[in-house]
C-alpha cells in the first residue's frame, strides 16, 4: 500500500515537471477541431499534393521519391521528428525542406523546389504526417547540438526596434495577450502549418520571419543559417513533445 502511494507521488511529481504546452492549448476549440479532423484540415490539400509528388518521377534520374524510398508510411516514419539534423553530404545542419531539396537536386537531378512553394510544402507536410504523434527527437551529434546552441543565443538575443527577444514573449509572457491574441510558448512541433492568417501553408522559417517583422527587426532571407539554427534550438527546446504536423494555427 505504502509502496503504491510512493509510486503515485513519484509519478505525479515527475509529471508536474513538464510545464510545456503545445500551441493548440492557446487556440479556440474550433481551430483545434480543424487540426484534429483530417476531413476539415486545409493542410490535407497540401498532403494530397505531396503524396502525388512522392510518387511522381522527376528530373534526369527519372526517379520518384518512391523509387528509392518505397512507401513513405514506412520509410519516412520518424524522419520529420529528427530534423533539423547535420547532413554529411551537405556538411551543415539542414531542415526537412532543405533535405528534401538535396534529394531533389542530387539523387533525382531535378531543379530544387522554391522556398515556400506548394510542391515543397506539400512534400514536407506529407513526410511530416508520417511522424505525427511521435516525440520530437533532435539528433544528439555535436554539429546539430552546436547549431542548437547558436539558435539558443539567437532566441535570447534582443532584436528590432521593439528590442525584444523570442524569450521575452514566449518564455516570460506565454499565456498573456499581445494585441488581442494569446502568446503561445512557441514550441514548433506542428510544422508545416496552415496558418489562418496566411490562409495558406507555410514553414517554420516563414513564421519566424513574421515574428521578426513583428518586432521591427531586419528579417533574414529564407534559408539563412540563423533561421536554421533557431529551428535547431526550437526542436531541442521542444524535444519529447509529440509532433502534430500538419498543424493549424491562428
Amino acid at each position: 500500500m505504502r509502496a503504491a502511494l510512493l509510486m503515485l507521488v513519484f509519478c505525479l511529481a515527475a509529471q508536474a515537471q513538464d510545464l510545456r504546452k503545445s500551441g493548440t492549448e492557446y487556440m479556440s476549440e474550433s481551430t483545434r477541431a480543424m487540426q484534429r479532423d483530417d476531413m476539415q484540415n486545409p493542410a490535407m490539400l497540401w498532403v494530397a499534393g505531396g503524396e502525388t509528388l512522392w510518387n511522381t518521377k522527376a528530373g534526369k534520374s527519372g526517379k520518384s521519391c518512391a523509387s528509392c524510398h518505397g512507401d513513405a508510411k514506412q520509410a519516412m516514419r520518424g524522419a520529420a521528428a529528427r530534423y533539423p539534423a547535420f547532413d554529411k553530404g551537405a556538411g551543415r545542419v539542414l531542415n526537412l525542406g532543405q533535405r528534401i531539396n538535396q534529394c531533389r537536386t542530387g539523387a533525382q537531378q531535378a531543379p530544387a523546389f522554391r522556398h515556400e512553394s506548394e510542391e515543397l510544402l506539400g512534400l514536407e507536410a506529407y513526410i511530416a504526417l508520417q511522424s505525427r504523434g511521435m516525440p520530437l527527437a533532435p539528433p544528439a551529434d555535436a554539429q546539430t547540438r552546436a547549431s542548437a546552441a547558436r539558435g539558443e543565443k539567437l532566441f535570447n538575443a534582443r532584436i528590432g526596434q521593439l528590442n525584444l527577444s523570442c524569450a521575452h514573449c514566449h518564455n516570460d509572457n506565454a499565456g498573456k495577450s499581445l494585441a488581442g491574441a494569446p502568446i503561445p510558448q512557441g514550441h514548433a512541433a506542428a510544422y508545416p502549418i496552415y496558418r489562418l492568417e496566411w490562409q495558406g501553408m507555410g514553414s517554420l522559417q516563414r513564421r519566424l520571419r513574421n515574428c521578426m517583422s513583428g518586432v521591427r527587426a531586419e528579417v533574414p532571407p529564407l534559408g539563412a543559417q540563423d533561421l536554421v539554427d533557431l529551428e535547431s534550438w526550437l526542436a531541442l527546446r521542444a524535444q519529447g513533445m509529440p509532433l502534430e504536423s500538419p498543424g493549424v494555427r491562428p
Binding site: M39, Q40, P42, M44, L45, W46, A48, G49, Q199, G200
Partner: protein, 107 residues
C-alpha cells in the same frame, strides 16, 4: 487542376441522410487585398459550387469574397440510389473543376 478533397460515405442505407464535406485549394483573392506595391490584387474567386446526384442537382452555393481561401462546405443529402455524385466548382479566369464520388445505396 486544383487539389480537392471530398469526404462522404461510400455506402448508405436508402433514405439515410449523409453528410458531405468538400474542400478545394483556391486563394479566393478578394480584390480588396493590397499587394506589395499597395495596389489591390486582382479578384480571383470561385463563384459557384454544386453537387449533382446521378445527374440531378441536390445542392448549390454561390460564393462571395467573404468565403475564406480554400473553400470548405459541409452539406447534406438523402441517399436515394446507388450511383455517382458529381461536385463542380466554377470561378474566375475560367476556373472549372469536377470531382466524382461513387455511392452504394442498399435497401
Amino acid at each position: 487542376m486544383a487539389r480537392a478533397l471530398v469526404h462522404m460515405p461510400a455506402n448508405a442505407r436508402k433514405g439515410e441522410i449523409i453528410e458531405i464535406r468538400a474542400l478545394i485549394a483556391h486563394p479566393m483573392e478578394t480584390g480588396y487585398r493590397p499587394g506589395a506595391d499597395g495596389r489591390p490584387l486582382p479578384q480571383d474567386l470561385i463563384r459557384q459550387f454544386s453537387c449533382s446526384y446521378n445527374g440531378e442537382r441536390v445542392f448549390a452555393a454561390e460564393l462571395h469574397p467573404a468565403v475564406s481561401a480554400n473553400p470548405y462546405i459541409v452539406f447534406y443529402t438523402i441517399a436515394t440510389e446507388s450511383g455517382t455524385l458529381e461536385f463542380s466548382w466554377q470561378g474566375d479566369k475560367g476556373f472549372a473543376q469536377t470531382e466524382r464520388m461513387p455511392i452504394t445505396v442498399s435497401g
